[in-house]
């Protein structure tokens, strides 16, 4: 009787995360992204370990580089990282640290940690694909509502909207961690700049899937994933 390969399911993510300990400071930041990451890698993104260098792959850019435990767990479940590597995380010579390094982990598109860099890189990636006539791949950038404070994001949101980058998607995980908040909601900052904006409960995998996959023609897409406020 065939059995499912070990540690490849959504239900395996807690066990995979459990192999990595010692980042309690970022636990709530980490917990807030698990479902979004799973839905992206399981249902939305067209990328696998075999296509990790294919120029026509979809790109996922983790801008919010802190709290990467669920990211590494999802990459492990999808075969980008092996289990033995997870156990050695944050050691000096481990490829896995508390902020990801793209040059050391297969399938990781950007190195992040300092906030507010992913969306600018995403805009450039979307422009590069467009300039090469690669109309199929999507570029998805995951950010946090606190990270959105960084002014560099606002340059990138405006530029992407004006340039009509419909191959670009921003997912903002909103756990109300921004010190001064976003009156009217983060989505209004994107829609005012010409983005298609949607929101979804950040723990609801089918709602996230729907928000990420419904068509949005001619302009970039922002999905605000609301989760329980940071405790």
């Amino acid at each position: 009787m065939p059995t499912a390969p070990a540690f490849t399911r959504y239900a395996d993510l807690p066990a995979l995360s459990g192999l990595m300990t010692g980042d309690e400071k970022h636990r709530s930041a980490a917990e807030s992204t698990r479902e979004v990451l799973w839905v992206l890698y399981d249902r939305v993104l067209d990328v696998s370990p075999e296509t990790a260098d294919d120029p026509d792959r979809d790109r996922f850019l983790l801008s919010k580089g802190h709290g990467p435990v669920p990211y590494y767990a999802v990459l492990a479940a999808k075969g980008f990282i092996d289990l033995a590597t997870l156990r050695r995380w944050a050691e000096f010579d481990s490829p896995l640290g508390h902020h990801p390094d793209r040059t050391r982990i297969p399938g990781v598109e950007i190195s992040s940690g300092s906030l507010g860099h992913g969306l600018g890189l995403g805009v450039g990636t979307a422009l590069g694909l467009r300039a090469q006539g690669r109309t199929r791949p999507r570029v998805v950038v995951l950010m946090g509502d606190g990270e959105f404070d960084e002014g560099s994001n606002h340059e990138a949101v405006a530029a992407a909207g004006r340039l009509g980058l419909d191959n670009l998607t921003a997912v903002v995980v909103d756990n109300s961690s921004a010190t001064h908040g976003w009156p009217g909601g983060i989505g209004t900052r994107f829609s005012a700049e010409g983005w298609q904006t949607r929101s979804a409960p950040g723990r609801d995998r089918s709602a996230l899937d729907d928000a990420l996959t419904r068509p949005h023609r001619g302009r970039p897409l922002a999905v605000v994933a609301r989760v329980r406020p940071k405790g």
Binding site: T103, S111, G120, A126, A159, R162
Partner: protein
């Protein structure tokens, strides 16, 4: 009785480096699918025709200098070769963390081409001056830095930068030398001193003609380089070894002492003295006026260089 010698000529020649850069970059867009020009309004008027021919490869982001570098990093991640251009302070200093992280830390490269140098726009004041640009980039590994001294040096520098994948900074100025010199890697002797000479003067880019005028009555070797990183340690060592003394005076058009650590490393195998001339770092010169006024204020006019060269070599 002899007449007093005539005052030395300013030894600065106007150089249309920005125009030549724009023409060279536009031609590169026509010839090669990889380059993309990324702008923040500055010089956008010089790329109007190129943008018409290559609408997806001339990207003007408006006045968004952090995004310029982030976008360049993203473009490079897809295999493109970004050419990023604005005035030096807004290209290097304002988005410095993007330069550090969105290029170097991602393991990708871009060609950054600045205009304005240390104080070409003297009348704009300190906000438009960037004497610290090369020193700042020097805090990052694996950058190539070119400081051309003549507009004709710009095309070979840019074409070579576009063929590669690494991070390259090209520091344009509208003020340089009367003649073009070899602009690629290497230290090039321009005027050789005798076997008993007092030492070597290394002139970087636009400083050459001033250095030649300032040292014409000294027995020294004058060498030229337009490529300061990687620094040609071996070449400087060879030239210094041929001089009567291994003493070296470096004259750079940006922050004083920017290359002092490189000269020290180049000459670590021989007893020597060294002195660095450049834009002074002990005070902020709050003047407007002209670039020539600032040359005088920093001792980088011919007279200022001559005075300090004599004090150094005729010790």
């Amino acid at each position: 009785m002899t007449a007093a010698p005539p005052a030395p000529a300013p030894a600065v020649t106007a150089q249309p480096m920005r125009d030549v850069f724009a023409e060279t970059a536009a031609a590169a867009l026509d010839a090669d699918p990889r380059p993309v020009v990324v702008l923040a309004d500055v010089s956008a008027d010089r790329f109007t025709d190129a943008a018409r021919r290559h609408p997806d490869r001339v990207v003007n982001l408006g006045i968004r200098e952090q995004s310029m570098i982030g976008v360049a990093g993203g473009l490079a991640l897809t295999g493109m070769r970004p050419i990023v251009h604005t005035f030096a302070p807004f290209l290097v200093e304002r988005p410095f963390e993007q330069v550090k992280l969105d290029l170097g830390h991602q393991g990708v490269g871009a060609v950054l081409v600045s205009s304005g140098a240390s104080y070409d726009g003297a009348h704009y004041g300190r906000t438009h001056m960037a004497p610290g640009d090369v020193a700042l980039l020097d805090s990052l590994p694996e950058w190539t830095v070119h400081v051309p001294g003549h507009a004709a040096e710009v095309p070979p520098i840019l074409e070579s930068a576009l063929r590669g994948d690494g991070n390259v900074y090209v520091r344009l100025s509208e003020r340089g030398n009367a003649a073009a010199r070899p602009a690629g890697p290497g230290t090039h002797p321009i005027r050789s001193g005798s076997g008993r000479s007092s030492g070597t003067v290394l002139a970087v880019g636009p400083m050459l003609d001033r250095v030649l005028a300032a040292t014409e009555d000294l027995d020294v070797t004058v060498a030229y380089t337009a490529t300061v990183r990687p620094f040609d340690r071996e070449g400087l060592n060879r030239i210094a070894a041929r001089a009567g003394q291994a003493d070296v005076l470096v004259v750079e058009p940006y922050l004083e002492g920017t290359s002092a650590h490189e000269v020290a490393a180049a000459l670590s195998d021989r007893r020597h003295r060294q002195l660095s001339l450049g834009v002074r770092r002990d005070t902020e010169v709050r003047g407007y006026g002209t670039p020539a006024d600032h040359d005088r204020a920093h001792g980088l006019d011919t007279a200022g260089i001559a005075e300090r060269a004599r004090a150094f070599f005729l010790l």
